[in-house]
Structures are given as structure tokens and as C-alpha cells.
């Protein structure tokens, strides 16, 4: 075997080339890491948003869109009396009547942004036990509380949705009374108001859905049975986790796009990187030939070239990991129904390192072939 120091010193033959290789590999690895982080982040937030304990009753035929769904106002009352196993605290059952409403919010400076609003009653807090008001209070009439990531989803500065700020919805002024957290879920990007207010603003007599929390997810068939027995209510039953799983499927094309975009940019960088590796290795035809004349096999030479490229590409991967931790980790990314936080965890890191490794291996093959495939006599007399 050739000494490892041979591979290391070869790297420094040309500093500019080394920089190009390391930089190119860092770019590719960073893109791959970003894509993985975006994909896992989106999937994670959607799957965390739905609880298997929660059952959504939605208007039959409107399973695709909660906002368009119509559920009779009385459904919550009837459901809470009919379905066994609803979770209960201090005599209050976890049943939440909700209106989901998408419309433009107008801010003090006149700017507008489309927001997902949810009209709720205080019982909503029983259905979403992981949701907490972290600042201010639960809204009363004329007030709203905002998820702590709503500003990010709306693309406005955080101050635009501060406590005490007034916003306008359909000409109606509303005051921000509270800020809530629901860690890792899309709820954090929503704006919640009082059910009555939303009913007036959206000009409807019905609600969008009724959400019920069961003590045991296994009680779902009871909830389903209820919907079947009360045909007059025209309800369709969904597990909340299934609802969000379906959204995951819905966003599949978006995720594919992320990959394609990253893939195209990466392809450019890969070609550039392979090019610099080629420039670094191919002129060494004669040197490789001389080493073979001394008695080194082609396998040993290929191994040394691999060491050299992998070392450069892994350095790039390491650099990309540092950049990812500094620039990507913890960044909130908005998408149509919420926002999610990028997490540079082991999964992302391992994918990145693996990508670097792969780049090194693949990038070595063409120039190595160029160096090691010609017959020795030809290689020795090459210019």
C-alpha cells in the first residue's frame, strides 16, 4: 500500500483545486442535508399534529377540506352525550366545535396576509392538551390568540402579531390577547378566535367540524358508530392522525419538487467537483505508470486515489455539517398550512456524510480510469 501521507500531500499539490473540490462537495452535501431536513421536518410536523386520541367529525362529502365542511351546530352536544370513552376533566368533556376559516388579515401598516383562523370554545384546550397559552390569555369576544409561529407562516415581522396588537379581519378589528405554543405541530401557525366571532365573520350557521378526544384510541369504532347512527347529522368520521397523514400525501409533490431542485443544483456541483478531481488526478498518468513499474498494483494506486478524493469530499461534508448546524438548524420554514422547524439531527448528518463519501468514490472513478487503464508502456511514454 502507498502511505496515507502520499494521499494527503497530493491534496495540497494545488490549493485552489483543493478548495474547489472541498467547496463543491460542501455545496452538494449542504443541499442534500437541506432537502432531508425539509422533508423530515414537514413529515414530522404533520405527523405530530394529529393525535390518535382525537376524532374529527366532518361534513360527509367534505373530507378533503375542513374549511368547506358544514356540520350542524348541535352536533357537539349530541356527540358528547352519545359517544362513550370521551376524555373528561372536572366534569367537562373534551369536545370542541370549530370553524376553520381562511382569509386575509390586515395589519396596522396596511399589509395583508392570508391566515388560517380557527374559531373555538375554551373546550378546545381539553382536546389539544399539548397546546398552552404562553403569554396573555385565551381570547374573549373581539380578541384572538396567535400561535407563536404564525408570524413566520404569514411572512410578517414578529412584532406584527405581538400581544395587544390590533389586526383586521373582514373589516372587523381584533386584539391579540394571547400567544400559544403547541410544540412541533402546525397549530402553532394558526390564529384562534372565539367561535361566535368567527361564525359572524364567515357568515355561517354551521361549524366546520367537531373534534372529540377519546381516552383510548381504540374507542374509535364507537365514534364511527355514532356517525352511522345519526344519519341526520351527515357526519364523516376521521382519526385526526389519518387526517394529517393524508395531508402528508397531499404535500408529496411539493417534497418531490424540493428534491428535484436540490438535485439539479447538486448535479451542477457534482460535475464541477468531478471536473476538479479529474484535473487533480488525470495529469498524473506518468507518475502512476512509474509506480506500477516499481511494483505497485493498480488496486493499490486506486485505493490511494480514493483516499485522496474521499478525504477532500469528507472535509467538504464536515464543512457542510457545520454550516447546516449554524444556518439551518432551528430555522422555521413556512408552507401552505403552517410552518415547521428544520432540525439537523443524526439522520441529516448521516445522509450528509454518506453523500460526501459517495461523491469521493464516484468522482475518483473517471480520472482513475484515465490514469490506470492504458497499458504501462503507453502511459510511460505519454507526455
Amino acid at each position: 500500500m502507498l502511505p496515507f501521507s502520499y494521499a494527503v500531500r497530493n491534496l495540497f499539490r494545488s490549493r485552489s483545486r483543493l478548495l474547489q473540490t472541498v467547496g463543491g462537495s460542501a455545496l452538494v452535501v449542504l443541499l442534500v442535508m437541506a432537502s432531508v431536513a425539509i422533508n423530515t421536518g414537514m413529515t414530522r410536523v404533520l405527523s405530530a399534529s394529529g393525535s390518535p386520541h382525537n376524532v374529527i367529525f366532518i361534513g360527509a362529502g367534505s373530507e378533503e377540506s375542513v374549511q368547506r365542511s358544514e356540520v350542524p351546530d348541535s352536533s357537539a352536544e349530541i356527540a358528547q352525550a352519545s359517544i362513550p370513552g370521551i376524555s373528561e376533566k372536572l366534569g367537562v368533556r373534551a369536545v370542541s366545535s370549530e370553524i376553520h376559516y381562511m382569509n386575509h388579515l390586515e395589519f396596522a401598516d396596511g399589509s395583508r396576509a392570508q391566515a388560517l383562523l380557527r374559531g373555538v370554545t375554551p373546550q378546545a384546550l381539553r382536546v389539544y392538551p399539548d397546546l398552552h397559552v404562553i403569554e396573555g390569555t385565551f381570547p374573549k369576544a373581539g380578541e384572538v390568540m396567535v400561535g407563536r409561529l404564525a408570524w413566520r407562516k404569514l411572512g410578517v415581522p414578529a412584532e406584527a402579531l405581538k400581544l395587544g396588537v390590533r389586526v383586521k379581519l373582514d373589516g372587523q378589528s381584533l386584539t391579540v390577547s394571547g400567544i400559544f405554543a403547541a410544540p412541533g405541530t402546525v397549530l402553532e401557525s394558526e390564529i384562534w378566535g372565539v367561535l361566535g366571532d368567527l361564525r359572524v365573520l364567515s357568515k355561517r350557521e354551521t361549524v366546520s367540524c367537531v373534534v372529540v378526544r377519546l381516552d383510548d384510541p381504540a374507542g374509535f369504532p364507537d365514534a364511527e358508530l355514532f356517525a352511522k347512527q345519526r344519519l341526520d347529522l351527515e357526519l364523516s368520521t376521521l382519526r385526526e392522525s389519518d387526517y394529517y397523514f393524508r395531508l402528508t400525501q397531499f404535500f408529496q409533490p411539493l417534497r418531490v419538487m424540493t428534491w428535484i431542485t436540490a438535485g439539479l443544483i447538486a448535479a451542477g456541483a457534482v460535475l464541477g467537483g468531478i471536473n476538479t478531481l479529474y484535473a487533480a488526478i488525470a495529469p498524473r498518468v506518468k507518475e502512476m505508470a512509474a509506480l506500477q513499474a516499481i511494483g505497485y498494483g493498480r488496486g493499490a494506486l486506486l485505493a490511494s486515489l480514493m483516499q485522496e478524493s474521499i478525504l477532500a469530499c469528507l472535509t467538504g461534508a464536515l464543512l457542510a455539517s457545520v454550516v447546516a448546524v449554524l444556518l439551518l438548524d432551528g430555522v422555521t420554514v413556512p408552507f401552505s398550512i403552517g410552518a415547521f422547524t428544520l432540525e439537523v439531527g443524526p439522520e441529516v448528518a448521516i445522509t450528509g456524510i454518506f453523500t460526501g463519501l459517495l461523491l469521493g468514490v464516484i468522482g475518483t472513478l473517471p480520472p482513475a480510469y484515465r490514469c490506470l487503464s492504458p497499458p504501462l508502456t503507453v502511459a510511460l511514454r505519454s507526455a
Binding site: 502511505p3 510511460l380 511514454r381
Partner: protein
């Protein structure tokens, strides 16, 4: 017969080049005794390098038999030939072909890394051949910091270090000034006389050939004894 380091019988070598075939060596016979220093002359393109490549197992003949250091080379696979070469032949090139990123010492050490050997023994052997070629105190310099003559000394040390019985040298002084060339030739002669190395050296320079025991001319695929 057993006294011969090299025994070529009816060796031909042709290369295809497009539709034509070039045959630099045709039915060539050559015997070189152990310890003999042979100079090989001939016009450019006459096949001198081709012959050295055959003798050192870098290339294989189209026809004929090559018995070098008692081994029939045709019997070896490519891999076996590579291993055989590392133990039996030291190749000295006109342009040295040292590895630019390694020091003189490290360049000479390269052939020894192919066989199991303690670091201590390896370093002693490298030092002793570097002493033998007279590189002096420049052993930790890289090739670019050495003169041509010094580079060729390093190359000779590298060819010697694994103690092969046969050295082949392709115009080893072709790129050197007269003084450096003379010193390299002295060194080669010393290796032949005092260390029993068999040497086949290609040269253009009749004065260089004088250093050898015997000179052969390669012309039209055949070897002729010098007049």
C-alpha cells in the same frame, strides 16, 4: 546457460497502429551474463525502450521466450508479473519519474512498502542505499529541490533498494550535463563491479557506452555486436 541473467530467444514485438503494424523487434536473441553491464545503442525509434520494457516485465512479447533471473515471464499473470518486477528488476528512467510530493527518502522507501519489513530495517536499508548513491545530506528534500544528477541518484537508489539482481536504465544520463552524467556512469559501473548487479543501459552517447562491459546496436529489429 544458468549463468545468464537474461535469455531472450526469438523475441518479436509488434504494435498495431491503425491499419499498419510496427515491428520494432524481430526474432531477436540476447543473452546477458549475471553481473554484466550491457550498453544498448541504436537510432531513435529502433525499439530500445521496447526491449527494456520486455526485459523488465512491463510489456510482453508478441512471440518468443524471455527467461529473466531464471523465470519464464510468459508464465506470469499480470498481477504476478507486477510482484515479480518489484523483487527482480529496478527500472531507471531518463526523466527519473520521482513522486514530486515525497522526499528523496520517501521516494526510495516506496518499493520497500510492498513487502513486509520492520520500519527500523526499512529505514536502515533506505539510508544505506542513499549513502551508496552518495546523496549526502539532501535526503529530506523533495525532487524539485534537487539537481537533475541528484534526482537520478535518488531514482537509482529507488531502483536498488529492494535489492533486485537486474537494473534496466533508459538513457539515464540523457538529460544530464557531462559532469553529472560521468558520476552517474561511475555509480552504475560500481554497482556492476562491486555489487554484482546485472545492468542493461540504453544510451545515445558512445562515451557512456564505454562504461559498459559490452555494447550492442539495435537496428532494424536486430542486435549487432559493436564493431
Amino acid at each position: 546457460m544458468n549463468d545468464n541473467m537474461i535469455q531472450c530467444t526469438g523475441v518479436s514485438k509488434s504494435y498495431r497502429r491503425g491499419s499498419t503494424t510496427v515491428t520494432p523487434l524481430e526474432k531477436l536473441d540476447l543473452s546477458v551474463r549475471r553481473g554484466e553491464f550491457l550498453a544498448l545503442m541504436g537510432p531513435s525509434g529502433s525499439g530500445k525502450t521496447t526491449l527494456l520494457n520486455l526485459l523488465s516485465g512491463i510489456d510482453s512479447p508478441t512471440e518468443g521466450s524471455l527467461v529473466i533471473a531464471g523465470n519464464e515471464l510468459a508464465r506470469f499473470s499480470r498481477r504476478e508479473l507486477t510482484k515479480w518486477r518489484s523483487q527482480h528488476v529496478g527500472y531507471i528512467f531518463q526523466l527519473y519519474h520521482l513522486v514530486p510530493v515525497l522526499s528523496a527518502f520517501e521516494n526510495v522507501e516506496l518499493p520497500l512498502l510492498l513487502s513486509p519489513m520492520s520500519k527500523k530495517e526499512r529505514h536502515e536499508r533506505v539510508k544505506s542505499v542513499l549513502d551508496l548513491v552518495g546523496l549526502g545530506d539532501r535526503i529530506h528534500h523533495t525532487p524539485s529541490e534537487l539537481s537533475g544528477g541528484q534526482e537520478q541518484r535518488v531514482a537509482i537508489a529507488r531502483a536498488l533498494v529492494a535489492a533486485p539482481p537486474l537494473l534496466v536504465a533508459d538513457e539515464p544520463t540523457g538529460d544530464l550535463d557531462r559532469e553529472s552524467a560521468r558520476k552517474i556512469l561511475d555509480l552504475l559501473r560500481q554497482l556492476s563491479r562491486e555489487h554484482g548487479k546485472t545492468i542493461v543501459m540504453v544510451t545515445h552517447d558512445p562515451r557512456a557506452a564505454e562504461a559498459a562491459d559490452r555494447t550492442l546496436h539495435l537496428e532494424k529489429g536486430q542486435l549487432l555486436e559493436a564493431a
